[in-house]
Symmetry: C2
Subunit: 117 residues, 2 copies
């Protein structure tokens, strides 16, 4: 059996690799999903993601801003009301998140203790 | 401005949350992509993912087997030749990975030192 040269192997694209780990980083995907489903304020996003702490949410929002997936905006109620909105780059993750939703509903079981309606 | 009850907030689905962090775990997405693109043996997968160590690959393959995304098979060359193949559950991640590829090619720049052809 002949062996192709390892040097000529088709490598996984570095852009794909960066992207999947950015989106799939701990809490990051869930925070993005919360914003996609209409939560834009810190307290609302936190409430939408069970187990997420203030510190971790603040840190992740910073990473998402640095990567230009989210942008901070002053809300209608004035400067005390900060909102987080998807950028165009962030919005275009919609098909990725929808594909994960579809796959997870087919393949990931609900936790045993999830007797919620 | 009225505030909806935090208790009634629409929560991010726990299945989505598990799925995105499984797929997006460090090295995991890149290893899956390598198998999708036709690499089935340990050395080939390792060569397809720059920077991946033997230890980390072995650990990640175990996680992917435990989560039933990959299965180990004895290759055509006999028991010394182990191959990793996608299960049906793993194969159905195809649309997720394709969506990430498309997004990353649009939005993630190549690293500066990437002068490869």
């Amino acid at each position: 059996m002949s062996e192709e040269s390892i040097a000529e192997i088709h490598r996984v694209c570095v852009r794909f690799h960066s992207a999947i780990e950015l989106i799939g980083g701990r809490w990051t995907g869930a925070i993005l999903r919360a914003v996609f489903t209409g939560h834009h304020r810190f307290a609302r996003i936190k409430a939408a993601v069970p187990g997420l702490s203030d510190t971790m949410l603040a840190q992740r929002l910073r990473v998402l801003e640095e990567n230009e997936l989210l942008e901070r905006r002053v809300g209608a109620a004035g400067p005390a009301q900060i909102e987080y909105h998807l950028t165009e780059k962030g919005r275009e993750l919609g098909p990725v998140l929808e594909a994960v939703v579809a796959w997870s509903h087919r393949w990931i079981p609900l936790p045993d203790d999830s007797a919620r309606p």
